[in-house]
């Protein structure tokens, strides 16, 4: 993992220039680890060589994007967060005739279905639209399919129960062989789209934006830019849910948000 920093910067700059994916403001240590892993599994020995290869081979570049854009997620991760969304946010959103939610950086979609289940249990799913976006096309396709390995369901069920789920979790999916497919009714109002937080603009106005464990991968400059993007994309008194270890501390929009749940990192636009 002994990368020359200038070589790494050059590589990320040319990726940005050629493909429009901007990783230059990502937290470096994690990007380095993932690039290193990508190179090891493909026996590429020098960063310079990797640069030449991905700039000339679009298919290899797609694989590179899979590796560098992190896709690890789970359903009802941090159950208390979902419990708080149910109790502190959805109760208030219920007063709107029409609810727009943005799940930014949805990865393979486990968070989307978690939120859809909450909305259904609160009787709000029919008048909600969830916009689910990610930089990673392959992850988005998995999210659209809504098919997950059956062996994850035990942990997800436990999470769901801790999040005070109202039903039996297995009512929401059908198992077939080693996979489960989530119920079509959950998908009826989800719009899937590619969106790149590092370069793309706001595209709608939302009552709730959820973006968990995405900002930790960005440096302060990019974190600040993305929080501004969220601020602009929220309606007045709209809500923002971040990951457990993320905060608005280093952003200049801090004062424009009110803390709704300090521990679970749920904020309201003032």
């Amino acid at each position: 993992m002994n990368f020359d920093n200038k070589e790494l910067k050059d590589l990320l700059e040319s990726v940005r220039f050629v493909y429009g994916y901007d990783f230059t403001d990502y937290a470096e240590a994690s990007v380095k680890r993932r690039i290193d892993h990508f190179m090891n599994t493909r026996k590429i020995t020098a960063l310079e060589k990797l640069g030449k290869m991905i700039l000339h081979d679009e298919k290899l570049f797609e694989e590179f994007i899979q590796e560098v854009s992190v896709t690890v997620t789970e359903m009802f991760r941090d159950p208390v967060f979902y419990k708080s969304i149910r109790e502190n946010v959805l109760k208030r959103l219920a007063t709107y005739p029409f609810i727009k939610i943005w799940i930014a950086g949805c990865a393979t979609g486990e968070e989307i279905y978690s939120i859809a289940i909450l909305l259904q249990e609160e009787g709000l799913l029919n008048r909600s639209v969830i916009y689910a976006t990610d930089i990673n096309q392959k992850s988005l396709q998995i999210a659209k399919d809504g098919v997950y390995p059956v062996e994850n369901m035990k942990a997800y069920t436990a999470n769901y129960q801790k999040a005070h789920g109202k039903k039996s979790f297995s009512e929401y999916y059908k198992a077939k062989y080693n996979s489960v497919m989530f119920d079509k009714s959950l998908k009826q109002n989800i719009v899937f789209a590619a969106h790149n937080l590092a370069v793309d603009k706001s595209f709608n106005e939302f009552q709730l934006i959820i973006c968990r464990n995405v900002l930790i991968y960005f440096n302060q400059k990019l974190q600040n830019k993305v929080i501004n993007l969220f601020y602009e994309s929220l309606c007045p008194f709209g809500f923002l849910g971040l990951g457990n270890k993320e905060s608005l501390l280093f952003t200049d929009r801090k004062k424009y948000f009110e803390e709704i749940d300090r521990k679970e990192k749920i904020f309201m636009k003032k």
């Binding site: 993992m1 002994n2 920093n5 937290a27 470096e28 240590a29 994690s30 380095k32 680890r33 993932r34 992190v70 690890v72 997620t73 464990n213 930790i216 991968y217 302060q220 990951g243 457990n244 270890k245 993320e246 905060s247 280093f250």
Partner: protein, 193 residues
């Protein structure tokens, strides 16, 4: 332990099963103003929140703190990796966190902290592997050695769970195999260099 003249700018510690007892054994007498930042990965349940920090703080004078992302790494603190996140060291000596895959079934992973800390602190990093029942840390201790840092493992004969220090020792990257009291003495001596 005579002859240590190298100045250390950071200490990284990795441990798993039995770690709480071992950690308090080497950290309990460090003064509040201990000048070298200490970073710890202790394998822990993701539901545990900050219990580990509280228990450790009750036994120690030095400040025990769960590491925050973007936090600047300073002396006077023992930074502990939060449950369910990897802890990484950035080039500007701040922490970052990641939700990447578990490494050797662990998140936080000792390897991730050790590797990223080695790149930044190079020969001014001391890495210590304590008791544990996993091989996490063995790859990391090798990287610390490659970058010229000092590598220490708790004596497996004394460790409550010897598998983790043994796994590190097998890589041949460990320079010192010490008991907890020897490690404690080392920590105290390097603070005066």
């Amino acid at each position: 332990m005579q002859g240590i003249t190298q100045k250390y700018n950071a200490i990284a510690i990795g441990t798993s099963a039995g770690g709480l007892f071992a950690l308090s054994g080497i950290l309990d007498e460090l003064p509040a103003g201990y000048p070298i930042p200490i970073m710890v990965v202790q394998h822990r349940s993701k539901d545990q929140k900050d219990l580990l920090e509280e228990v450790l703080q009750n036994k120690c004078k030095i400040r025990i703190k769960q590491a925050d992302e973007k936090e600047t790494i300073k002396g006077g603190f023992v930074y502990v990796a939060p449950p369910d996140y990897h802890l990484l060291v950035e080039a500007d000596k701040t922490f970052s966190l990641s939700s990447d895959e578990a490494v050797r079934f662990s998140r936080p992973s000792i390897d991730v902290l050790f590797e990223t800390a080695a790149i930044v602190y190079k020969d001014t990093l001391a890495g210590i592997i304590l008791t544990g029942a996993s091989s996490d840390g063995a790859a990391g201790i090798t990287v610390i050695k490659e970058y010229g840092g000092l590598t220490i493992a708790q004596d497996p004969a004394e460790a409550q769970f010897p598998f983790m220090p043994e796994s590190s020792i097998q890589t041949k990257a460990v320079q010192h195999i010490w008991t907890l009291s020897e490690i404690k003495k080392f920590l105290s001596e390097i603070s005066n260099i």
